[in-house]
């Protein structure tokens, strides 16, 4: 039995041709971009992700919106993602000396529940990919505070081959905090500034991202060479 099977190979099956998903340049498929073309994904994974583009959020009545903005500014939840050197100052920030829980802020371990992502310092390409994913998974009005000068203009890694030089080309940034390292007081001042912006209704990075989505994607794909994730992973 066995050697028979071994002898004659079953000719019924045609050898499978591996079809790797071709990834066209962004501008090619971008013109008819009603829905996203999740290129770079394996075929069986494509239906795991929705193809909806991010939409501009509707605002309600001004009075209600003001109250909601106040509530948002009163309880900011930080995504506990130490992207660089700046993460070393996130720990003193939650301890007794500079206690951000006074301001109603607390670190959350999951991007679903976080409103604020703190870019701590330089961002390497590998980290940028994760930052984009985390940022897109965050819900609602979401805010970005970029700490350290490396996130602003590359800092002292201005000629490094692996760090992006300005983070605001890849995700919208609300508040910058300069310095290397910035003192925790400076970070606290940045958070307070962000609160003022939120109360004034000026921190609309989510809508900006939805508006200039194509531009952001183009910038991200210029630096992230192996794009093996969906284009918008809500």
């Amino acid at each position: 039995m066995n050697d028979n099977e071994i002898k004659n190979p079953d000719l019924s099956e045609t050898p499978e041709v591996e079809t790797k998903p071709q990834t066209p340049a962004y501008t090619e498929w971008r013109k008819d971009a009603k829905t996203l073309y999740n290129n770079g994904l394996p075929e069986e994974e494509k239906d795991w992700f929705c193809d909806a583009r991010p939409q501009k959020a509707r605002k309600s009545v001004q009075v209600i919106e003001d109250f909601l903005n106040w509530a948002r500014s009163q309880s900011l939840w930080i995504l506990a993602f130490g992207t660089g050197c700046g993460a070393i100052e996130l720990r003193p920030l939650v301890t007794s000396r500079y206690d951000i829980s006074r301001l109603g802020m607390q670190p959350r371990p999951t991007p679903r529940q976080a409103n604020l992502i703190m870019i701590g310092g330089y961002v390497s390409i590998k980290t940028l990919k994760r930052i984009v994913r985390s940022y897109e998974q965050m819900q609602g009005p979401k805010f970005v505070v970029a700490v350290c000068s490396c996130a602003i203009n590359g800092g002292m890694y201005w000629d490094s081959y692996n760090t992006v030089k300005r983070i605001d080309e890849y995700i919208p940034v609300d508040v910058y905090v300069t310095g290397c390292m910035p003192r925790p007081e400076a970070v606290l001042a940045g958070f307070n500034k962000l609160k003022e912006l939120i109360r004034a209704g000026k921190a609309e990075g989510q809508n900006l991202y939805a508006e200039k989505f194509d531009w952001y994607k183009e910038n991200q794909k210029q630096v992230i060479k192996d794009w093996n994730m969906p284009d918008y992973n809500w």
Binding site: C85, R91, R183
Partner: protein, 385 residues
């Protein structure tokens, strides 16, 4: 009935992820249980890890490339960025490597000040680690205490060098400045407070039943693993080996200070924590000794020629120092020009977090992954530089 766990064929677990029995979870880079910005790719069966891949490189900045195109004195500000929680070791080693190549003799007082700076940074890093160790087992209180107290040590650095985290204090040829007025009294106060805090930690954390229950017998490092994996520092000392660069090859003034190498024999996470707790006391006592024996007056640095055009004679050297994680080394090659030819950093976390962790994590309950990883005391920035 066949066992739930996959069969082990010559050291590797053979299993199929698509059979619905095994789960692949990623811990990190965005995970509060993972120290710093690195990630573990865990294949778990039930709640037991059967395979682990460590992924680093989220913090890669290409230091060694950047230093090749910077002058020596321009390299100096960026070396301390290699290890964020304990930058002074990098500063000292870079300066020491330069002085070794140039044959510089730095004044007596600078040696003492450098030792003081190193010990203070060891103290700060140890405090941070003890907090992380307790936090990894869910005791956030001790983490809050220690990390909050670390700020007072950082205040000392700030008075000394003007910076909290990155204090470029140990320049090539000495240190930047002498101790400010009233610094010694302030330092002694902070050190005494740290000693008090450590006693509280012993009561709350080290003598805690649940902490022992979780840490004892977790991630045992055996004696034969030490050389095979290149384990250094407390991770090697927890197996009973007396290996401490400060004793073996005394640098600076460590031969004039009296301390002994702390060792344990169990080799598990609890003994590592004990060793680090004792070494924190040791750092405090060393700081006191330095403040006692230090020469009160004297020059603190030699004046170099125009540092922008500083030429270092050709040659290659390797200098090492004992950081909180163990042996930290700089390998510097100069070709006689204004730019370093090659500068390689040997971070102790390199082998601990890559080769060792991947093998220690196999068979560990997923609840203990964070505790085991923290107990190895790894800092990702010095892995990928």
């Amino acid at each position: 009935m066949e066992s739930l766990y996959p069969p082990i064929v010559n050291g590797k677990a053979v299993y199929d992820l698509n059979s619905q029995k095994y789960l692949r979870v990623w811990q990190g880079p965005q995970h509060p249980g993972v120290t710093g910005n690195m990630s573990l790719e865990l294949d778990i069966c039930g709640d037991q890890v059967i395979k682990c891949n460590t992924h680093v490189g989220y913090l890669h900045r290409g230091f060694e490339k950047l230093m090749e195109r910077r002058r020596y004195i321009n390299c100096f500000p960026i070396v301390c960025r290699i290890c964020v929680p304990e930058p002074d070791t990098n500063e000292y080693l870079f300066a020491a490597a330069m002085e070794d190549l140039m044959g510089l003799e730095i004044p007596e007082k600078a040696l003492w000040l450098r030792t003081l700076d190193l010990e203070l940074s060891r103290l700060a890093s140890f405090l941070m680690h003890l907090g992380g160790q307790s936090g990894a087992f869910g005791m956030g209180t001790v983490a809050q205490w220690t990390i909050a107290y670390r700020d007072y040590v950082l205040d000392l650095f700030e008075e000394l060098s003007g910076a909290r985290i990155y204090h470029m204090y140990m320049t090539p040829g000495g240190v930047r400045g002498d101790l400010p007025d009233g610094w010694i009294a302030h330092a002694r106060k902070v050190l005494d407070g740290a000693a008090k805090l450590l006693d509280e930690i012993r009561h709350v954390m080290l003598n805690n039943v649940l902490f022992k229950q979780r840490a004892v017998g977790l991630g045992v490092i055996t004696l034969d693993m030490v050389d095979r994996y290149g384990i250094v520092g407390p991770n090697a000392r927890c197996t009973g080996l007396k290996r401490d660069v400060r004793k073996d090859q005394p640098y600076l003034v460590y031969d004039q200070l009296n301390f002994d190498v702390e060792t344990e024999t169990a080799g598990d996470a609890y003994s590592r924590t004990l060793i680090r707790w004792r070494e924190t006391h040791q750092s405090i006592s060393l700081c006191h000794q330095i403040l006692d024996k230090m020469p009160k007056t004297g020059a603190v640095h030699v004046t170099l020629p125009n540092v922008l055009h500083l030429k270092v004679p050709a040659g290659q050297t390797y200098v090492r120092a004992e950081s909180t994680r163990g042996e930290y080394g700089y390998f510097m090659v100069s070709d006689g020009s204004e730019y370093p030819r090659k500068l390689t950093v040997r971070g102790p976390s390199y082998t601990h977090a890559m080769a060792l962790l991947e093998d220690l994590l196999v068979g560990v309950n997923i609840a203990d992954v964070a505790g085991l990883m923290v107990s190895l005391h790894t800092y990702p920035p010095e892995i990928e530089r």
